[in-house]
Symmetry: C2
Subunit: 456 residues, 2 copies
């Protein structure tokens, strides 16, 4: 009899696991059943803002593999609109509710992959069922928001609460759709994923396209009229709104896991080992936005919900479940985003994180250009480096620029991954041609400046 | 009495040396005299094609620091239009000819920086003084070519001989100026700096903009009419031309050095140690396009004339001459270029070089896209990796793509610099967001494919 794997959650981590396992074991050896609460599998949640804005015309473009493809090409029994409601580790069973057809199914497993993703953080004031309030976590969320936008008459005034990646991207998307947009951020700056001195550039760019950014403002409630949202109440002035987008971040979706007794770490994510096995629970695996992972620079566990990690972790789990050997090496906090025409990249620790990890460090900010200064289209690029004071080792880097800036962070990410010192980095043989870089690449300019700072 | 340094050659390497030395020692401690044969100092030779095409409007934009700036801001006694004609190591003197004023000067030195650059390779047939034949090595060469193009009536039919970086860039520049352009390449493909399978994409792109590319054709002579070039004779058909550009590569400019007894290595470049001291010759330094350097992957000496190395080597020499400590770590062969709208990057060894170095390896070519497939502007990107068979270590990489492709080579260059294996590389935490990368970055896609190839 074939071994039986149940996958809880049909997005990146779960389906990458299933596909990798299938590559190594056919259906006579491993039967795979995947439960997905929503309507979609294997889609790009990161792409939702671009579909909302209209930049990506069709929702289906965001779906890498639909359920039919998983069934037909990979022999994976995908059941969408099925919400797993309980996991019984002793009986090796899951219970799932058919959200459309009604009724419950009970399915046996030998191997369980828990890939339930993350859920939006909702303060008490956001726990309402009034119309016009949206998270942007799943493609179903995005679909609901798109319908609200496309209705006649559509909303005109949007408030985005929270200035993280999703908040910033959604604010821009809504501006592109012609709405008047206010972004409310509790902290000093939106885009707190980079240091305030770098985030300031992002704030300026967003104001430049007309986003009304209110910082240091706390939302305390929503107001409604006829069951529809009519405004956001804050600790200062109320803000009228006929659309509210929640961008307050996410937390690991672990309700089911906790109930089943799976171990959680200090970040609230599920604890897994290097092979993505749930620590101490034989036959149970977890991957994606619901797990915590090792930060290679701080050495501490972190929760970094990001599609690229989910895919890598799923691949690792699937190789192992398939009988191979693979480990997930951890993360270093690399992230890139587009904010209006501004490109933002970061890797490693930002100042606050480096302090929290106990590092003593110097920081430098170097101004340069993306191309040779004389080459058409040359634009400013700002590179910030954080280097350990005694060793000179790179701890973190941030880039803000106007074009061809964001992905330069990868150069720094690989340097950081390899524990390079800023002194070593000044010697790096990077590509030089006038359309692509000044003769001293911005990364080298910053490394030289960091070497000088360390010598002081 | 101040120590006295003479710099032979006033471009990147020489002037970077002078500027760095000056940062650490003032003119009472170190007197600096720099001789430059041409009219310009510290200019971007790599930028010449873009000035020729008109993309960069003014020649002066290519000059990073003119002689007056060097004199006034750095107390460097720059003498342009002075050609050094002899170096006497015993008497610690150089002899220089004043090309404009006439006459000769004799100058004493304690320290000598030899930074005479490179000279174009000229077969016998190219050693002619007929009008309309140009190299593109110095800004004076570029100026002469620009004058030829700007004359009335200007040339209409150009032949570029040689399909290296400069040949390819010049062919495009001349097309942009409206000339009919033929590129003659002796080998199988132009752009032999990447493997033929990757160079083919470049050939196609160049043909797409109308360059007539003739491969496997050898030039054997030039024909003339009234002292002006009228055509190129080849081992097949003659090609009419009223402008010929030589792009046959360069060799280290070592005539003076050899006469003075400086040691040359197997590549024909001057032999220097890690601090850029000429091996075995006290008080004499060399840097830039005239020296040979260590290739960190093959372990062999190479001659890689490139502005970015010249600047780094000059900085290293200048720090040392200034009393500090710095070493040049060698190169890994990273290069990027723009060919029409195509972006080309390479690092490490190409197949032929890896064979010559004695490596046994696998190669993979992975097709991917620069952005998430659904994001507007997504274009194909082709990544080739070469990995050592037994260790899995990355030996070389090449990228060809249509936008945001070239500088991705830096990610691979840093991985290669750090001797990463392709297996390690699959774990790299690279930036992901739909405008900048698919969820599996092209670099990761290629690394995964290489891991699979190694397992076979």
């Amino acid at each position: 009899m074939a071994e039986r794997m149940i996958v809880v959650g049909g997005d990146a981590a779960g389906m990458a696991t299933a596909a990798q396992a299938r590559r190594r074991r056919d259906r006579h050896d491993l039967e795979i059943v995947a439960f997905e609460r929503g309507h979609f599998t294997s889609y790009s949640a990161c792409g939702i803002p671009y579909w909302i804005s209209g930049l990506v015309p069709d929702r289906e473009q965001l779906v890498a593999r639909d359920p039919a493809t998983h069934r037909e090409q990979f022999d994976i029994d995908v059941r969408i609109r099925h919400e797993v409601t309980a996991i019984d580790l002793d009986r090796r069973e899951v219970l799932a509710r058919d959200l459309d057809g009604g009724g419950e199914v009970r399915e046996r497993f030998d191997t369980l992959m828990y890939a339930a993703g993350a859920v939006p953080i909702k303060p008490d004031w956001a726990r309402s069922d009034m119309a016009g309030v949206f998270g942007v976590q799943t493609l179903d969320d995005g679909t609901a928001l798109r319908q609200w936008l496309d209705a006649e008459p559509g909303p005109r005034r949007a408030v985005v609460v929270g200035g993280g990646y999703i908040g910033v991207e959604m604010a821009e998307a809504l501006v592109l759709r012609g709405l008047s947009v206010t972004l409310v951020e509790r902290g000093e700056q939106p885009m707190s994923t980079v240091d305030p001195d770098m985030a300031r550039l992002v704030t300026e760019a967003m104001r430049g396209v007309g986003v009304d950014i209110r910082t240091g403002v706390r939302v305390i409630g929503l107001s409604e009229r006829d069951g529809r949202v009519s405004g956001v109440e804050t600790d200062t002035d109320p803000i009228p709104a006929d659309l509210v987008v929640l961008g307050l971040g996410v937390r690991p979706n672990t309700a089911l896991a906790e109930a089943a007794g799976l171990p959680l770490g200090p970040t609230g994510g599920i604890r897994v080992d290097r092979r993505m096995r749930v620590t101490g629970v034989p036959g149970v695996w977890a991957a994606g936005d619901c797990v915590e992972t090792l930060h290679r620079v701080s050495g501490m566990p972190v929760h970094v919900p990001l599609g690229t990690h989910a895919n890598k972790q799923g691949r690792v789990a699937g190789i192992n479940i398939g009988g191979g050997y693979a480990t997930f090496a951890g993360v270093i906090g690399t992230a890139v985003t587009k904010v209006c025409d501004l490109e933002v990249g970061r890797t490693g620790l930002r100042e606050q994180e480096a302090l929290a990890a106990g590092f003593e460090f110097v920081t430098v900010i170097a101004e340069s250009t993306n191309r040779a200064g004389y080459y058409p289209g040359a634009r400013p690029m700002t590179v910030k480096l954080i280097a350990e004071r005694t060793s000179g080792r790179l701890l973190g880097a941030q880039i803000v620029g106007w074009s061809e800036a964001a992905k330069r962070i990868d150069t720094l990410a690989v340097a950081l991954w390899n524990k390079m010192t800023v002194d070593d980095m000044t010697a790096l043989d990077l590509g030089y041609a006038p359309p692509y870089a000044p003769v001293w690449d911005p990364v080298l300019v910053a490394a030289r400046k960091a070497v000088d700072a360390l010598a002081r």
